[in-house]
């Protein structure tokens, strides 16, 4: 599924039935639904930062979203998305704490975000 298609398919991911004894099935389904929203949110923030590369608050929001994904993705079976989200969160927060300018952080963070978005798409399609 593409990101554009994801925007119009909020119920995606529900078609694959989880094993009946899987206690995390409902949480996983909810996570997939939320991924769609978060992908759209990432895209919105990306546009904001690309329009004004020094937009530090938007960059912090990217880190906060990545942080949330990293906390649950691996536990729900999406290890790659979890690792990429954790790496993006850490890369932004550590460099912001070190006083690096938002524009410079974004240069490195942008490709990391793209990779994460690809992994999230795969998670939606899984």
């Amino acid at each position: 599924m593409t990101r554009a298609a994801a925007a119009h398919a909020p119920d995606c991911g529900r078609d694959r039935a989880a094993p009946p004894d899987d206690p995390l099935a409902a949480v996983r389904a909810r996570f997939r639904d939320l991924i769609v929203q978060r992908v759209l949110e990432f895209e919105r923030l990306k546009k904001l930062i690309e329009a004004a590369p020094g937009n530090a608050p938007a960059l912090r929001e990217v880190a906060a979203l990545a942080h949330k994904i990293s906390g649950v993705a691996a536990t729900l079976g999406f290890a790659q998305a979890g690792d990429l989200a954790a790496a993006l969160d850490t890369a932004i927060m550590r460099r912001q704490a070190a006083g690096v300018a938002a524009a410079a952080i974004w240069q490195d963070a942008a490709p990391m975000l793209e990779t994460l978005l690809d992994a999230l798409e795969e998670a939606i399609d899984a």
Binding site: L34, H67, K68, S70, T75, D89
Partner: protein, 317 residues
Amino acid sequence: MRILAVDDDPVFRNLLIEALRVQNHEDVVTAGSGMEALAILDHASLPFDCFLLDIQMPGMNGVELCHAIRQHEVYRRTPIVMITAMSGRSFVDDAFSAGATDYVTKPLDRLEFQARMGMVVRLHEERERLVAYARQIGLATGAVEMKVDFDTPVLIPGIQRGIEFLALENYLHTLGRKSVFSYAAFGIHITNAATIFGRTDPATFVAMLTDVGMSISDGLKTEHVLLAYAGNGDFVGLAKRSLETDLDELERFINFALTDFQDIYEADRLPLPEVRVGELVRGSIFSLSGPTRILDQAIRMAQPHVIRKPEAKLLAV
């Protein structure tokens, strides 16, 4: 066991509920923020037996929430398990200083989480046992909790940077053997603790420990040290590898500070507590022993029979 789980991410809250349900913990209440959690506490008809707090939350973070929960008398000793992403481990020191009992990392590892909750259950059961005993003999729970044995590692109330000994051990376990290398510990032994314990009631004994704990805390000034009472008249402090305070000077300071209480002890016909501070013990990266070995060694080094080496103040374990 009644649990309050606090996390700003709704998916993680659901995940916690399911992970707890698998462990047969069905009575779980969740909150999406620190403020919501405090409101729930204010209106709870039954007290909670355990808290799970995310550290990194917008607004009031988990460390601030932990501190606020500890201000409630009823939750002074309730287990608080912090939850943090690996990137947030730098906040863990603050969490333990604020009164956390333990912590787990995100993403949740099923076995690790089960082990942590197992520890919480044991603490809860011990507390329930005390409450049942209190009912049986018709005393307030606080009075029973004061019935401490000499070797009981009690939480000394009102001491800055003071945490439970169990929490200090948990902290070291979660750091792991390699990271313990960057920490140092020192013991503070009350040389006449056994005499005082034998000549007074448990409540007065704990009051004496508070006097000593406050004097230690004053002596450490701005040092970032976690301090716990390990039982048997032994305090132990855990610091990052360097400590600016000279430990001989600390010993002199504590013993001098305790003279402020002389009149009180004389009135109670008790000897004034006297302390001996041991050498600084550093964790060794080559050590094969467990991470809490540094605490045992620090306590041992403060005992009266251990001769201090003036030229070699550091000991690696």
